[in-house]
Structure formats: structure tokens, C-alpha cells
């Protein structure tokens, strides 16, 4: 028996010894980015998730590149595949000169034909690309497919002109899309593009090309030596390692097995800071949490398709009272450890040129809340602690998606805060897909959710009152003045005028308080300090990572 035990012990210790012999966690020629789940596609046509978008951007460049100017709080544009461009006086067309030194990773030259082909394939209804339906400023047919002969004039292999609809005021963002290789995708039947094997062996034009893709394990990109962005010192390989467990990601970050990790929980930052080799970067103002108050009656809408004001939240006065009644600062300090800031409206504070500094969040003030509720007719007539109006008790279900600790915590705080002003809240947790299904069918009275903001700023999709074309306006907020301002912003070529309009928008929005804006949550990213020249900004974590360098 003792001899057997000795065998077992010897085996185990030799196993541990051999295992510990070959640990090398950091390298000078590659970086490892830890991500929670594998990407489904690296074809930019179908890059729907944030990670897919970031990876495909490194493989496929557009004519115009973008960067973030933190001082001005706006996106700046720079030439990438295009050498330069020239707008016509009325901005109805743009003449683009392409670089003549761009080759695809298979050695073929990138030409104006590829550019035309890319607009064609992205707008093709057969493809269902992520940009389908977003070519409103182009000449299109009834299905939304760009009218190629009317829109593009190829003047030479490296020069083309793009014509837009008159008075549509296009910007550089309208010509910003990843350029796809015509000689590859042009041979494939459009119906088969989504399932084609080419998607797994991309012929790219970017700073990186695909090296290997081991499903649900790692996806490796290597520097594209034929790219004009290639330079001495460029990181040779960017490896995306799929680590579903948050604890494992954190452990590997501390051990140096991965170099970058996004979505760090605020409570883990002190421990990471102690490591000495890790830098914490909170990216501000990309996502805001809010409590949605359905402005219309969900039952009437779902049964009779009628837009009747909600019996609780139809009044701006009540919505403001609710915003006053909730102690948002407490959640920000206690749960988010101040990794965020209170939100006053849907315009992110990162947009420094359009944010209205006079608009302040509704600070916690239960007395003011009670006063506003009383003014609206909500009074506790039967002394049961719950307010009533016209025989209706102020009692409702607050829906939150399951598996989100922040929302669990904030819902509990809100329930207690609202109880103090005489409102009864029942918290209902729901599976995410079921939650979304109900949310988009406008079946909830109240819910907690969050939105990522669009870059560049776009408020129309959230707050415009044509509900058929704005399914994201789940709270069914409707204000004619807001609609008018949003239309004007779209049409106005004058930057100063747009700024003025944005500020007006925020004033009206603040007055209406269609939902309770809670806080802008920081996206906390941690990276190993061995990566130099790193610039993590609202455009993404690995955005422009061809400029990064590694410590020797």
C-alpha cells in the first residue's frame, strides 16, 4: 500500500515539475487579446458584433479612416485607401483619388472597381449585409440596392466619382465602408456569399491578414507585409484568445498570458492596479443605463394598436418625479465605484462640441418627487403607503434581464427609493431573449436597459416618433418639436447650426424626461504595460493597433 502511494506521489510531483518547466507567458512579437466568445464571422459584410467589427476592420480598410479627437470630442477623418478626395460645391458628388500602391493579400491590385463592387454588394438585398438599408443618400432602386451606373463614374483604375441624391448632404461617413475584393467575391453567386468558404480564408487589404482560426480557442492575425501600414516595429501577431470565464480572463491577465481584457468589473480594479504590470483605462461615455418608462399604454397598443398615454408614465411631470425619487449617485458610488458619471440625457459627454453644459441630471430629491406627484393628482387617499389617482394604485412591474448584477442591484435600490415616495414596484427578472422580445413589442410598463451610442452621434433612431422606422424607440416617445429638430440636424450642412439644434434637443428632452437617464457606465479595459503607444478610445480597444509597439 505504501509503495503504491509512493508511486502515485512520484507521478504527481513529476507531472507538476514538467508542467512548471515550460512557462513562458509573454512574448515580444505578439499580443494576446482575451475575449469572452468566439466571433462568428470576420467578413465585414456580416460583422454584426463589436468584436467582429474590430477584427474585420484590421483586415479590410475603407477609403477613409477615423480617429477620435478627445479634446474636441469628435471623430476626425484621415485618408486610408483614398489618397485624397474633393467634394463638389453643392456636396452632391465627391471625386476620389485612390492610392495606387495597395495590393490585396493575394498580390492583385486594389482598384476603383473594387470600390464600386463593395458598395454594390453591401447594398444588395440578397446579401443581408450589416449596412443594408443605410444607403439613403444614394440613388437606389425600391429594394435599397444602389443604382451603380447612376452613382459611380470610374475615371481611371485609381479615380472615381460618386454621385449622391440632390440635397442629401452626405459626409465622409457615407463613403466609409470596408472595401471588398471583386476578383474573389465577384465570382460567387450572391446567395452563397454568406456560406462561402472564402469567408474563412479572407483575401484582405488591411494591416493584418488571417493567420489561423481555431474555433472557440484562438483567432490569430499576422501583420500584412504588403500593406502600406506595415512598418518596422509593428506587432507581428495579434491573437484573440477565447476565454468564456471572467475569472479565467482575470487570472490570465494577471499572469501575463493575455495582454488586454475588456469589461473589467469595477470591484476588481484595485487588485489589478496592485499588479504593477497592468494599466487600467476606463473608456467613458459609450453606454448609458436607463429606466424605461413606456410613454404609451402597452395593453391598448398591443390589443388595439392605439397610442394612448400610459396611465402612470404618460405625464412628463410624473417621469420627472421618478427621476428625482431615485438615488442614482448611490448606485454609481456603491456598485460602480465611480467608474461612470450621472447621465442628464441621451447625448454622451464625450461629444464635447454638442453637449449642453446647462443641462444637469435630476439629483436625488424625494421631497420634490412627492410634490410633483401630488401636483399630477397622485395622492395616498387610503393611507396604505401607496399613491392613487382615479382609483388606480401607483403599482407596476419593473422588468430586468437575468444575469446582470448591476441591474439587480439598481432595481433593488430603485424599489426602495420609490417606496419612500409611495410607489409600489415589483421587480421581475426575465431571460434576455424573452426580455428583448417583450421590449420591442412594447409590452412592458417599465424596465431597466442600456444602449450603446452610435458614433458619429445619431439621435434620430432612438427619439424620432415614426415608430415603424425607429424600432429602437421602445418607450414610444413622441414630440413634434424633437422630430423637427432631428430632421433639421440631418439636413443642415452648417456645423454651428447643428450644434445649436443639438443643444435645443437636449433642453426639450430634459424637460420631457422620456425615460430616467441613470449613468454613463465606463467600459473598463486593462492592458499589460508592455504594450506601448496604445490609444484606447471610444472607437474601440484594438482600433488602429498597427500603431502599437511592444517593449523589447
Amino acid at each position: 500500500m505504501q509503495v503504491r502511494c509512493l508511486y502515485v506521489l512520484t507521478f504527481l510531483s513529476s507531472l507538476i515539475f514538467f508542467s512548471s518547466c515550460q512557462k513562458s507567458s509573454t512574448s515580444t512579437d505578439y499580443i494576446v487579446v482575451g475575449i469572452a466568445q468566439d466571433v462568428e464571422s470576420i467578413n465585414p459584410l456580416f460583422a454584426f458584433s463589436v468584436d467582429e467589427g474590430s477584427i474585420s476592420e484590421l483586415l479590410y480598410l475603407g477609403m477613409v479612416g477615423h480617429d477620435w479627437n478627445d479634446e474636441k470630442g469628435e471623430i476626425t477623418s484621415e485618408p486610408l485607401l483614398a489618397k485624397n478626395w474633393e467634394w463638389s460645391a453643392d456636396t452632391s458628388s465627391v471625386l476620389i483619388n485612390l492610392r495606387d500602391d495597395i495590393t490585396w493579400s493575394d498580390g492583385k491590385k486594389l482598384t476603383a472597381g473594387d470600390v464600386v463592387f463593395s458598395f454594390d454588394i453591401f447594398s444588395d438585398p440578397v446579401i443581408d449585409s450589416r449596412l443594408f438599408g443605410s444607403f439613403e443618400k444614394f440613388y437606389t432602386d425600391s429594394s435599397g440596392h444602389i443604382d451603380i451606373p447612376k452613382t459611380f463614374e470610374v475615371l481611371s483604375p485609381y479615380q472615381l466619382r460618386i454621385e449622391f441624391l440632390p440635397h442629401s448632404h452626405p459626409t465622409l461617413f457615407n463613403i466609409d465602408l470596408p472595401i471588398m475584393p471583386e476578383h474573389i467575391y465577384g465570382k460567387i453567386n450572391r446567395k452563397d456569399v454568406a456560406t462561402s468558404d472564402v469567408n474563412k480564408n479572407p483575401v484582405a487589404n488591411g494591416a493584418f491578414v488571417l493567420d489561423s482560426w481555431d474555433k472557440n480557442q484562438t483567432l490569430t492575425l499576422k501583420a500584412n507585409q504588403h500593406s502600406f501600414l506595415y512598418h518596422k516595429g509593428i506587432i507581428d501577431k495579434v491573437i484573440f484568445k477565447i476565454i468564456p470565464g471572467y475569472t479565467s480572463r482575470l487570472t490570465q491577465l494577471k499572469k501575463g498570458e493575455i495582454d488586454i481584457c475588456e469589461f473589467i468589473k469595477p470591484e476588481d480594479t484595485p487588485e489589478l492596479k496592485k499588479q504593477g504590470n497592468i494599466e487600467i483605462i476606463p473608456v467613458k461615455g459609450r453606454e448609458y443605463e436607463y429606466i424605461g418608462w413606456n410613454n404609451i399604454d402597452p395593453e391598448k397598443f398591443n390589443k388595439e394598436e392605439k397610442f394612448v398615454p400610459n396611465k402612470f408614465f404618460g405625464s412628463a411631470r410624473v417621469r420627472k418625479a421618478l427621476s428625482y425619487a431615485i438615488n442614482k449617485q448611490e448606485i454609481l458610488e456603491e456598485y460602480l465605484h465611480n467608474f461612470g458619471q450621472l447621465a442628464a440625457g441621451p447625448v454622451s459627454p464625450i461629444f464635447k462640441d454638442v453637449i449642453n453644459p446647462d443641462i444637469k441630471p435630476y439629483n436625488y430629491n424625494p421631497e420634490e418627487a412627492k410634490k410633483l406627484l401630488a401636483e399630477d393628482g397622485w395622492k395616498d387617499r387610503d393611507n396604505d403607503g401607496v399613491l392613487e389617482k382615479n382609483g388606480t394604485k401607483f403599482s407596476f412591474d419593473l422588468f430586468i434581464p437575468g444575469g446582470n448584477p448591476l441591474r439587480n442591484y439598481s432595481a433593488t435600490v430603485m424599489k426602495n427609493d420609490l417606496k419612500n415616495v409611495g410607489i409600489d414596484v415589483n421587480i421581475q427578472t426575465m431571460e434576455l431573449n424573452t426580455f428583448l422580445d417583450n421590449l420591442f413589442s412594447k409590452k412592458f410598463n417599465a424596465w431597466i436597459a442600456s444602449w450603446y451610442i452610435a458614433l458619429p452621434i445619431d439621435l434620430k433612431m432612438m427619439w424620432y416618433s415614426k415608430f415603424n422606422s425607429t424600432p429602437i424607440n421602445v418607450q414610444s416617445y413622441s414630440n413634434k418639436d424633437i422630430d423637427k429638430i432631428l430632421d433639421e440636424i440631418e439636413k443642415s450642412p452648417d456645423k454651428e447650426n447643428r450644434k445649436k439644434l443639438y443643444k435645443q434637443f437636449q433642453e426639450i428632452m430634459h424637460n420631457d424626461e422620456p425615460v430616467t437617464f441613470l449613468y454613463w457606465v465606463d467600459d473598463i479595459t486593462a492592458h499589460n504595460k508592455r504594450i506601448k503607444n496604445i490609444d484606447i478610445n471610444p472607437l474601440g480597444v484594438i482600433h488602429h493597433c498597427w500603431n502599437w509597439k511592444l517593449e523589447e
Binding site: 508542467s19 464571422s41 435599397g144 480557442q217 479565467s248 494577471k254 451610442i453 424600432p471 429602437i472
Partner: protein, 328 residues
């Protein structure tokens, strides 16, 4: 005898296929009536609402459910489960990327469970009611009561974070492609040690309990005493008479366990970042990737049926009286 055995197996296969048909039909309906849909990932402020309708159309979700069901059945008979909404690849191809790992992992786990539980059972039984027997019983009970996620996280904390001897996740190292074949093999072993331990713990306890109790029961049977009295040596008694009589319930449990393991070990796969069927299935369910969910369920169903049938055949080989039972 052989003929009746063959007929019994055939009967069993046909009834299993019927069960499989009802299983996927039931699941088809269940998925379609559950709230949410695959198009939900296309709803975001950045995407245009027109795309959502287009996506529903391209997934054929705009067609009546009866039409969808009949198309699904026809395709299933042809072995075509359609295209995964998420991966934009045929479901069969997606499953084939995850299945090899799951097969190897499940087999390793079951073999380790069997070996260790046999070893522990024999230690217990050779010293019946001794201190060692009691300690092993209590220890296995402790193993059984540790939830998988606790064991996994604990092992990562000790062996990966503190001692830094085993990797905390994945199936291979970043440098795997630069290694020679021996180093690659070792790399796989190194990555699999903690997940195998995590997943084995509960199984070892269960197998041990079945085996120990059965061994004890058989050893105390009069025919064993008879054999001993006849002078048959102890090794032959154990190998030829005790084990064949004691393993029957264990084979049934192993069959079920192996079938379940082949349909994926979600928690272990998530904790250790392994590319198994469990993660694939759950992701498909959460994203409402209907074809993939049905493909995964079908695969899991097939494995459960095969492993149970195999267990029954093995049992019948050991005990011929059971042939009748296979067809039942």
C-alpha cells in the same frame, strides 16, 4: 440465440429512432413558440430596421410554421439540418468542429472515472469496514457534494494562479503550432488535466458507490464461499465470478453518463474555455439558432441512444439472460 439477439437490437434501434423523431419534432415546436427569435441580434441602434425583416425572410421565418416543419422534416431525413444562423455554415460542419474534442474528452473522463472508482472500490472491499474503507466512503461523498463550478474555480486558483503549474483555460498553448509532436501531445495533456479532474470528481464518487456496494454484496453471497471452499484461488474468484456479477448496474450508469458527457459538459467547458458541444448547444439556444439547436439535440439524442444500447449489449454479453431485456 444469435438471431434473437440481432432481432432484439434491430427492434431497439427502430424504437430509438422513433423516440428521436418525437424528440426533435417536440423541440421544433417548443423553439418556435418560445419568445424571442434569431433576428434579435440584428436589432440595435446601429442597424437599420429593414435588415430585421430581410433576415427573417432569409431564415424562412416569415413562412407558416407547418411549412417550416415539413421542410425541416424533409431536410432532416436527407441528413441536412440546414444552415446555422450564427455561423453561416451547414449545421453538420459546425457540429463536426466541436464533436471530436467532445468525444475524446468524454472518453478520457469515463475511463479515468472507471479506473479510479475500481481502484478505490477494491481498496475498500479488501479492507471491508476498516478505517481505510470508511475514509474512502466519506471522501467520495465529499467529492460528490462539491459542485463542478466550485471544484473548477478552486483548481484554477491553486494550480494555475498560485502554483502556476497548469494553464487555466483553452485546449492548447499559443505556441502550440511551433512545437514538435511530443511537445504538442504534452501541451494537450497539460491543458486537459484540470478539466478532467473537475469533471471526474462527481463521477468517481457515483461509480465507486455502485461498485463497492455490489462487490460487497457479491462477496458475501454463498456461492463465493462455496468457490473458496472448493479451493479456487482469490484472483480467479474476483475476475471470473465477482466482477461480472457486480458490474451490471455500473455499466448502465456508465452508458447514461457517457451519453450525457457526449452531449457536452457545459460548466467545465465554460470554466476552462474548452470547445465542446455543451457550449455550442447553449449558445445556440440563447441566440435562438434553431437549426443548430436541433442539430445539437439530434446528435446528443443519437449518442444517448447508442451508449445506452451499447451498455445493454455489453450487459447481455456478460449475462445472456438479459437478451430479452434489450428489446424491452
Amino acid at each position: 440465440m444469435k438471431e434473437s439477439f440481432g432481432r432484439a437490437v434491430l427492434y431497439r434501434i427502430i424504437s430509438s429512432l422513433l423516440i428521436l423523431f418525437f424528440l426533435i419534432s417536440f423541440l421544433f415546436v417548443l423553439l418556435r413558440i418560445s419568445p424571442g427569435g434569431p433576428e434579435q441580434k440584428f436589432i440595435s441602434p446601429q442597424l437599420k430596421p429593414e435588415l430585421i425583416e430581410k433576415v427573417r425572410e432569409s431564415f424562412n421565418l416569415d413562412k407558416p410554421i407547418t411549412e417550416q416543419y415539413s421542410a425541416f422534416l424533409l431536410n432532416s431525413i436527407r441528413g441536412n439540418f440546414g444552415i446555422s444562423y450564427n455561423y453561416r455554415e451547414p449545421v453538420f460542419d459546425v457540429i463536426m468542429e466541436y464533436l471530436p474534442f467532445t468525444l475524446i474528452f468524454a472518453l478520457i473522463v469515463v475511463i479515468v472515472q472507471l479506473l479510479l472508482s475500481f481502484w478505490l472500490s477494491f481498496i475498500s472491499i479488501s479492507r471491508l469496514n476498516s478505517r481505510a474503507d470508511r475514509y474512502i466512503s466519506k471522501f467520495t461523498l465529499l467529492l460528490y457534494s462539491i459542485p463542478t463550478f466550485v471544484a473548477g474555480v478552486f483548481l484554477i486558483y491553486i494550480f494555475s494562479e498560485k502554483l502556476n503549474v497548469f494553464p487555466s483555460s483553452g485546449l492548447k498553448s499559443i505556441q502550440h503550432s511551433d512545437m514538435d509532436s511530443a511537445a504538442r501531445f504534452w501541451d494537450y495533456i497539460e491543458h486537459l488535466i484540470l478539466p478532467v479532474i473537475t469533471l471526474c470528481l462527481g463521477g468517481i464518487a457515483v461509480y465507486y458507490r455502485y461498485l463497492r456496494d455490489n462487490l460487497e454484496e457479491i462477496y458475501t453471497k454463498p456461492f463465493i464461499l462455496n468457490l473458496r471452499a472448493a479451493g479456487v484461488n482469490e484472483k480467479e474468484i474476483t475476475l471470473r465470478h465477482v466482477i461480472p456479477n457486480a458490474v451490471n448496474p455500473l455499466i448502465t450508469v456508465t452508458g447514461i453518463d457517457l451519453g450525457l458527457l457526449l452531449s457536452g459538459a457545459l460548466i467545465t467547458e465554460v470554466i476552462f474555455g474548452l470547445p465542446g458541444m455543451g457550449r455550442l448547444t447553449v449558445t445556440a439556444i440563447l441566440t435562438r439558432d434553431y437549426p443548430l439547436v436541433l442539430g445539437c439535440t439530434f446528435t446528443a439524442g443519437i449518442f444517448i441512444i447508442i451508449t445506452n444500447l451499447a451498455a445493454d449489449i455489453v450487459k447481455a454479453r456478460i449475462d445472456k439472460r438479459l437478451i430479452k431485456g434489450i428489446s424491452g
